[in-house]
């Protein structure tokens, strides 16, 4: 059998295979395209969910700051004197059921050199995901039970 007849022999027997192969290539391309779009969509959803949670948590942390600033205006806190850098700290966990399912933890810190300047840190964690942490910070000056919000941190003073 010559080479040309062998070629023709293969051609005649494989006519249907080309159509099948072509169909499979089209199907594969369409599947890959759809899967890529689906993957992008899932990624977008995850991103959007994370964005929502972070904004929601930030406003809760901000609420914690506002709450503690009000609390400071009517309460004289009992500070825990530390040995590092002449600082005093106070850890609080205000009960704020209206901000569920988030838990707020407040940390107050002041330098004994300027005790009227207080640095407040509001840390928010989610009940279902303790690794999810968001925080907001504010420096205030306490003068005669009046609170003045300041820019920057207590270390600036």
């Amino acid at each position: 059998m010559t080479k040309s007849s062998d070629y023709q022999h293969r051609q005649y027997n494989k006519c249907g295979f080309t159509t099948l192969l072509f169909s499979l290539i089209i199907l594969f391309a369409a599947t890959m395209m759809t899967l890529t779009i689906a993957h992008t969509s899932i990624y977008e959803q995850r991103l959007s969910g994370n964005n929502y949670r972070s904004i929601e948590a930030f406003f809760k942390a901000d609420a914690g700051l506002e709450y503690i600033i009000k609390w400071l205006s009517i309460t004289t806190p009992s500070w825990n004197t530390g040995s590092i850098n002449n600082t005093e700290t106070l850890q609080l966990q205000p009960m704020m059921p209206e901000l569920a399912p988030y838990k707020i933890s407040i940390r107050l810190q002041r330098n004994l050199k300027s005790p009227e300047i207080v640095y407040i840190q509001s840390i928010v964690t989610h009940d279902n995901d303790p690794n999810w942490i968001t925080q907001a910070q504010q420096t205030v000056e306490i003068k005669n039970n009046k609170i003045i919000k300041l820019a920057g941190t207590w270390r600036d003073f």
Binding site: M1, D62, E66
Partner: protein, 140 residues
């Protein structure tokens, strides 16, 4: 009538292979049609889901904008912050979107602060969705 070459190089006619190409093509067409229908359905669902995600993002931005606006107004007119609502019409990807925004203000007298809740509702093709943001604003 289909022709094929034997190993000896002779051309033979085969009656049993008559119309075989047509059947092959039809079967391929059937397989492609069924598979593409499923893929298109999945594609449609993904596109719809993507649009809903975008709508969620827009709603979140609107809620955040309102809450920040209330926060800024509180520094000037704390006592004038009250519950209210509005409606926002937008167009996204040539589709009209409508969001109903509502903000509720609750006075908490014990520490003299206000609990603000901004809720946004919008309708998708299949359901109605809602999100809300909460915060506290103290009297300056």
């Amino acid at each position: 009538m289909a022709r094929f070459l034997t190993r000896d190089g002779e051309v033979k006619l085969c009656r049993t292979q008559r119309g075989m190409m047509l059947i092959d093509a039809l079967i391929s067409l059937l397989i492609i049609s069924v598979s593409l229908t499923a893929l298109l359905k999945l594609h449609w669902q993904v596109t719809r889901q993507s649009l809903e995600t975008q709508m969620h993002n827009i709603a979140l931005n609107l809620a955040q904008k309102k809450l920040t606006e209330i926060h800024n107004n509180a520094a000037v007119n704390y006592d004038l912050i009250n519950s209210n609502n509005d409606s926002i019409s937008l167009s996204y990807a040539k589709r009209p979107l409508e969001f109903k925004r509502q903000w509720q203000v609750q006075n908490v007298s014990s520490l003299d602060y206000k609990l603000i809740t901004v809720s946004i509702r919008w309708k998708t093709r299949l359901s109605s969705r809602q999100l809300s943001l909460k915060t506290i604003i103290g009297k300056p």
